[in-house]
């Protein structure tokens, strides 16, 4: 079965190469394809010629997109495979790449993981296909995540997660708590709530790497810097990180956050019954609340993310993913055509209709998008707040080229601050040390 489809792919590739010359359908085994420019006409010709591509993604809205794409291009077959959600898919992808076998043509990759795959030439540089021209289409946070250096583009943003504060208005009203505008007010609100109802917590946080890095991002901390892909710096001692750590330490010290892991059953139950009263999280959350905490429909509202400085206007991205082309994938022109269709072309609207949150500025600013009323949020036009947040994201944040690993050891190190007397700042330092150690072992120059 596998051998069969690979053979098929190979023969299709051969036909393409004969028909179009090596540029459109080049075999990527030769290493770099960054030098080759591929024109729009080449891509169109490949679409006409047809073929088969394999797409690894867990994003549910892509199903409809793939169907539409095949309808428009009858000769193209898209195999949409769910190879696992985030870390599980990365494991499969890394294994496929190192085995040089069964690598998909397109893979969904979250922003924080792009660096890891872009490095060591795991991903095709899409600038050869003219992806660089699409820069203006995307909001700054996601775009900064997919580009590397001055003109390399390793993926096209699929969705984004500008952060906002989701809060349970019913609980807030019941205890007469005001929506916090700053994180200091947030701590105050946490105290007031927990005092009024010892079973209720302002939020749940059992230590989550994505959440912590996002708040650091918002606080102005830039713990990671990567130069030339191999020179890496990890430093959690800047002003932003100190501010974050001292504020969050108060919540931990006074047991004001519920020690419940995100996405667990307890988490959804708490969101539903009001014992977890707020969630500072990405704008892709509404669909999850609607399905996971149905009973609280109408109770929740959305507010801008609390600020670190009174009157400030800063935000951060939390999660979000892109579609990229692993270099060992075969059908590059078709793969690019699909990525462009899904993330920049007609597919975007299809996915928005199904509840995805866009990374494209045009959609973020369109009046139909912004004026959408969410019944779950009591008819609130929540997208206005999300769109504003997206515009406030600073675009100079960088992840490590081994962020997937770094995140995997977050709870080994920073987790100590959640379950023992270890201070958050010291815990961050031990995360830093462990990341540095791994970086060195992997041949990076680490400072």
């Amino acid at each position: 079965m596998h051998k069969h489809s690979r053979l098929l792919l190979r023969s299709i590739g051969l036909v393409c190469a004969l028909a179009l010359g090596a540029t459109a359908c080049g075999d990527s085994d030769d290493g770099g394809s960054s030098g080759k420019a591929v024109s729009e006409a080449d891509v169109k010709a490949a679409l006409k010629k047809g073929g088969e591509i394999t797409v690894w993604a867990w994003e549910p809205t892509l199903k409809q997109v793939a169907a539409d794409f095949q309808k428009e291009n009858p000769k193209v077959k898209v195999n949409l495979v769910n190879a696992g959600t985030n870390a599980d898919e990365y494991t499969a992808l890394s294994n496929a790449i190192s085995a040089k076998k069964g690598v998909p043509d397109v893979a969904q990759i979250e922003y924080y993981a792009i660096g890891q795959y872009a490095l060591s030439k795991g991903l095709t540089d899409l600038s050869a296909y003219g992806a660089g021209k699409l820069a203006a289409h995307y909001s700054p946070g996601p775009w900064s995540a997919v580009k590397a250096g001055t003109d390399s583009v390793y993926a096209l943003p699929m969705d984004s997660g500008p952060m906002a504060l989701f809060y349970n208005k019913k609980v807030f009203d019941k205890y007469d708590i005001e929506v916090p505008g700053t994180w200091d007010e947030y701590v105050e609100a946490a105290r007031k709530l927990h005092e009024a109802d010892p079973k209720a917590y302002i939020t749940a946080d059992a230590g989550d790497a994505g959440f912590t890095t996002s708040l650091l991002w918002q606080a102005g901390s830039r713990p990671y810097s990567v130069v030339n892909g191999t020179n890496v710096k990890v430093d959690f001692s800047d002003q932003g990180a100190t501010t974050f750590a001292s504020t969050w330490q108060k919540l931990l010290d006074e047991d004001l956050v519920a020690p419940v892991s995100s996405w667990s059953d307890d988490w959804f139950k708490g969101l539903g019954d009001g014992t977890i009263a707020t969630l500072p999280i990405g704008a892709w959350m509404p669909a999850n609340l609607e399905s996971g905490a149905k009973e609280a429909s109408g109770d929740w509202r959305v507010a801008p993310l609390p600020q670190w400085k009174e009157g400030g206007k800063s935000s951060a991205e939390n999660g979000g993913s892109s579609l990229a082309m692993p270099e060992l994938g075969k059908n590059e022109a078709l793969a690019y055509a699909f990525i462009e269709y899904a993330n920049s072309g007609k597919g975007v609207q299809t996915r928005l209709d199904a509840g995805a949150f866009p990374a494209t500025t045009e959609d973020l600013q369109s009046s139909t998008f912004q004026e959408t009323k969410f019944p779950y949020f009591g008819g609130q036009q929540a997208n206005k707040i999300f769109a504003e947040s997206a515009a406030d994201v600073a675009d100079d944040w960088q992840y490590l080229p081994f962020q997937v690993y770094a995140n995997s050891i977050f709870n080994d190190t920073v987790g100590k601050a959640y379950v023992s007397d270890t201070k958050l700042s010291d815990a961050l330092k031990s995360w830093q040390d462990a990341s540095v150690k791994y970086g060195k072992e992997q041949g990076f120059t680490v400072q």
Partner: protein, 308 residues
């Protein structure tokens, strides 16, 4: 007769052995071949490949290089590995005796013949072993929940506050409880089977000698099943050192308590799948395998020596 005999023997000797040796080497291999092939492929090849892997180091920057025994050196100085080994050793020292004693008690009770509803009792003790470890762990995790689980319900109903079984301090004990629950039935069955084959004549003799039940247990039953005890202990030692399923399944509920280096097996898994350090992971796995072998062997030696 006597003078003729030796020369005949010496004459006949030189020829056949060569022919026989020749024939033996071919037919022997013919019979042995299929086994050797399967054995080499299934048992030796993976071990050899793991050893081969452990001599290299693949880096994100710099690619794959031969590093000799560097990975082993690193593993021997790796605090995370030794901490993991310490944790499973503690688990071994506490959980295994508890589990085996309970299993032995149950087996003796079943064997005593004085139990009402013996078959039902036997099946219900054995049942947990038939439940897949994944399901068992998930089930216990739900019960352990202090917010919505059984522990939480007990807290609410009785107005007490039980300690959180999923906290960092109690996690090892909680896992031990699950493992004990799962494997009592299995060990009980091993002991019970060994008890059943003790000849009745021994009991009759004991009765004639006027031995009580306690005396029968210490003088007949326990010595007779020493072999089974040793086997069960060795299985349990290996099982403890290979602890993986339970922590791996419970981790999403308590990431801070179950670190990625919680047990040696879980550590090799994390090294290999989170950090792409397959080479180092292979070295750690081989060291762990050797340690397990040595300890299991020592236990076996001691066990059989006592038996003599």
């Amino acid at each position: 007769m006597t003078t003729l005999h030796p020369p005949a023997a010496t004459r006949s000797r030189p020829v056949p052995p060569e022919a026989r040796r020749d024939r033996r080497s071919w037919t022997g291999w013919g019979f042995l071949g299929p086994f050797v092939a399967v054995f080499a492929l299934v048992f030796l090849a993976p071990i050899v490949y793991a050893i081969y892997l452990s001599l290299f180091r693949e880096q994100l920057i710099g690619g794959n290089t031969f590093v000799g025994l560097d990975n082993y050196q690193q593993a021997l100085r790796d605090d995370r590995f030794w901490a993991a080994l310490g944790r499973v050793s503690l688990f071994l020292v506490v959980q295994v005796p508890v589990m085996l004693c309970l299993a032995l008690l149950v087996a003796l009770a079943l064997d005593s013949g004085r139990l009402y509803g013996r078959d039902f009792f036997r099946v219900s003790i054995f049942l947990p072993y038939a439940v897949p470890a994944v399901v068992a762990t998930l089930m216990w995790s739900f019960m352990y929940g202090t917010r919505y689980g059984l522990v939480g319900d007990i807290n609410d109903a009785l107005g007490v506050s039980l300690p959180d079984p999923l906290s960092a301090d109690l996690m090892l004990a909680s896992i031990g409880n699950i493992v004990t629950w799962e494997f009592i039935g299995y060990n009980m069955l091993i002991f019970y089977a060994a008890l059943r084959v003790i000849p009745d004549s021994l009991y009759e003799a004991a009765q004639i000698d006027g031995a009580g039940q306690w005396r029968i247990i210490t003088a007949i039953k326990l010595p007779a099943i020493r072999g089974a005890l040793v086997i069960a202990t060795i299985f349990s030692i290996i099982g403890s050192f290979q602890l993986f399923n339970e922590p791996s399944i419970m981790r999403p509920l308590a990431r801070n308590a179950i670190t990625t280096d919680y047990t040696p097996n879980f550590y090799t898994y994390s090294l290999s799948f989170n950090g792409q350090q397959q080479n180092y992971s292979a070295a750690v796995a081989i060291i762990m395998g050797l340690i397990t072998m040595v300890i299991a062997y020592v236990v076996q030696l001691r066990g059989t020596r006592k038996g003599v």
